[in-house]
């Protein structure tokens, strides 16, 4: 068994990158294929309608080219979304209101602020729950209840209430992001802080360790793998929370605003481009936490 453990990383390193890439590319290809077929099918009705009105007969190749190059398609084709994304990112000055980078930054800053608030709240509550029986019984039900209320119902209230108090901009969105992101951190940290078993706690007792020493030297390090797993969920949730928070705000800035204005004006390409920008942003954020996780656990000797 030991031998298998020791050899595992070597085997992984020796495998060609192509071997990992192939299944991913296959799935991507299938998705893109289905997407194109879907775009043709869904956009065809409008083209047929137009052709009937003009009294022209559409050949199949004509139909296909037209459905894939509409201005306001029901479902934009992948290349249209790619172009929309590219123009949004590279085609504008990043300070422009048409720049996706600018909108992404607006969303990102609120996401990070909310993520920080949510993580801090989650960790603090978890520490309290692990150390106090009454907190364990009183806080957890409310934490669960907070997540069962649909965020779409909460978000406008938070925005409106805070706006009437004169608080606008980043903070209301960050609060909604924190609302969604504290929960996974809380659950993960409670689980993580409770991983030390009876023997490890007895051991600490045999050394007459204080509660603070047990916390810092045993509970906290034991909980780190759980914390990182939760942080990945939490940062994605924070991004969703921020975007939802941008929808009812009158919507002038942020990826959520981009989605909303896109739907007002039937700019489906803009909606899809913003969607992909959000997805890419989420992917990058989760990957970033994964990197920090690997570096930390490696330094702690927990990654093998």
């Amino acid at each position: 068994m030991t031998e298998a453990v020791l050899n595992a990383p070597v085997a992984r390193r020796l495998r060609l990158p192509m071997g990992d890439l192939l299944p991913i590319l296959t799935v991507l290809l299938v998705i893109v294929g289905i997407w194109y077929l879907g775009a043709i099918r869904m956009n065809a009705a409008w083209e047929r309608d137009q052709a009937a009105r003009a009294g022209v007969e559409l050949t199949l190749p004509d139909l296909v080219t037209r459905t894939l190059s509409q201005d306001r398609p029901v479902l934009p084709a992948p290349h249209q979304v790619a172009v929309g994304l590219w123009e949004g990112v590279a085609g504008q000055a990043i300070t422009s209101r048409r720049s996706l980078v600018w909108h992404a930054w607006v969303t990102l800053s609120a996401t990070l602020a909310g993520f920080a608030m949510g993580t801090a709240a989650g960790i603090l509550l978890a520490v309290g729950i692990v150390h106090s029986r009454s907190m364990d019984q009183s806080v957890m039900p409310w934490a669960v209840a907070s997540q069962t209320v649909p965020i779409l119902a909460i978000a406008p209230m938070v925005i409106v209430v805070l706006a009437s108090a004169g608080v606008t901009g980043l903070l209301p969105k960050a609060i909604i992001a924190a609302w969604l992101s504290f929960f996974p951190v809380l659950v993960g940290m409670v689980k993580g802080l409770r991983t030390p078993d009876a023997m490890q706690l007895d051991q600490m007792r045999s050394w007459s360790a204080s509660r603070a020493q047990v916390f810092l030297r045993l509970r906290l390090p034991s909980s780190l793998p759980y914390l990182f797993a939760s942080l990945k969920v939490a940062i994605a949730a924070a991004l969703v929370g921020t975007i939802v928070g941008e929808l009812p705000a009158g919507a002038t800035a942020g990826l959520g605003a981009r989605l909303l204005s896109g739907s007002y004006y039937g700019q489906t390409v803009q909606i899809w481009a913003a969607l992909f920008a959000a997805a890419i942003l989420a992917g990058v954020l989760v990957a970033l936490i994964g990197l920090i996780e690997r570096a930390t656990l490696k330094r702690m000797g927990l990654a093998r």
Binding site: M199, D202, Q203, S206, W207, M300
Partner: protein, 255 residues
């Protein structure tokens, strides 16, 4: 060193009270190597934990170093070795051995000096920078013994420390433990399931039996302190092992 008079411990459970210990009387002198042997449920671990103030007896008087067990624990009277090494995977071997010293507030220089000394004592010098998973089970348990020795407690309490190891590793560790005991002059309390292990190691063998947990026989070993592994084939050793087995039978441990 350790004085127990009429010590009883009753756990209240849903199925009624469980008498883990009943009227236990025992006197352990400084430098003794005492083994507690008996079947599961005889209270041997409970008694060891009571000495360590990890359990509180419900009756009788228990004194450790002339103090009540809780005060003795705070005065660092004992080091406790559990069945599992319980090393922290995020600390190196040296870091693990240093852990109780950090908790007790030793200075950095003194920690380094003590860690080096006890690692030498358990023959782990040179492995300080390794992580626990890089060591074999036997070496991990040696590190755990070193950790219990690091703060110079007079008493070493060991709860089946070699129970999870194979026979050959166990023999070697028993030999090493005996050498360590002779060198340091510690008082050792040692819980085990194994008759040969108890006979080989101890100056005093405490035979216990279950329901209620009690001492059925205390046997003082006539074996010399210097014991090569081959001593296990001598008539004296075999006679002593027989006596322990008789004690177990007396307590209906084989029923």
């Amino acid at each position: 060193m350790i004085e127990a008079q009429g010590v009883s411990l009753t756990f209240q459970t849903a199925d009624g009270p469980v008498h883990a210990l009943k009227d236990v009387n025992l006197s352990v002198a400084p430098g003794d190597f005492v083994s507690f042997i008996g079947p599961s449920g005889c209270g041997k671990t409970t008694f060891l934990r009571s000495i360590a103030a990890l359990e509180t007896p419900t009756g009788g008087a228990l004194r450790v170093n002339g103090m009540d067990p809780d005060a003795a624990r705070r005065a660092r009277a004992y080091g406790y070795v559990f069945q599992a090494p319980g090393l922290y995977p995020w600390r190196t071997i040296a870091g693990n051995i240093s852990l109780p010293l950090e908790i007790m507030g030793f200075s950095r220089a003194e920690r380094a000096e003590r860690v080096a000394r006890v690692m030498d004592l358990v023959e782990l010098s040179g492995f300080g920078g390794k992580f626990p998973w890089q060591l074999s089970g036997g070496m991990q348990q040696r590190a755990s013994i070193a950790r219990a020795l690091a703060f110079d407690a007079d008493i070493l309490l060991m709860d089946e420390p070699f129970g999870a190891l194979d026979e050959i590793v166990r023999d070697r560790l028993n030999e090493a433990l005996l050498a360590l005991w002779r060198k340091t002059g510690k008082t050792i309390g040692f819980v085990t399931h194994s008759i040969p292990e108890a006979v080989y190691l101890s100056t005093k063998i405490v035979v216990m039996s279950p329901r209620p947990g009690r001492i059925t026989r205390v046997i003082d070993s006539p074996l010399p302190p210097d014991r090569p592994l081959e001593i296990r084939d001598t008539p004296e050793f075999i006679a002593l092992a027989h006596e322990v087995r008789e004690g177990l039978r007396e307590g209906h441990s084989y029923d």
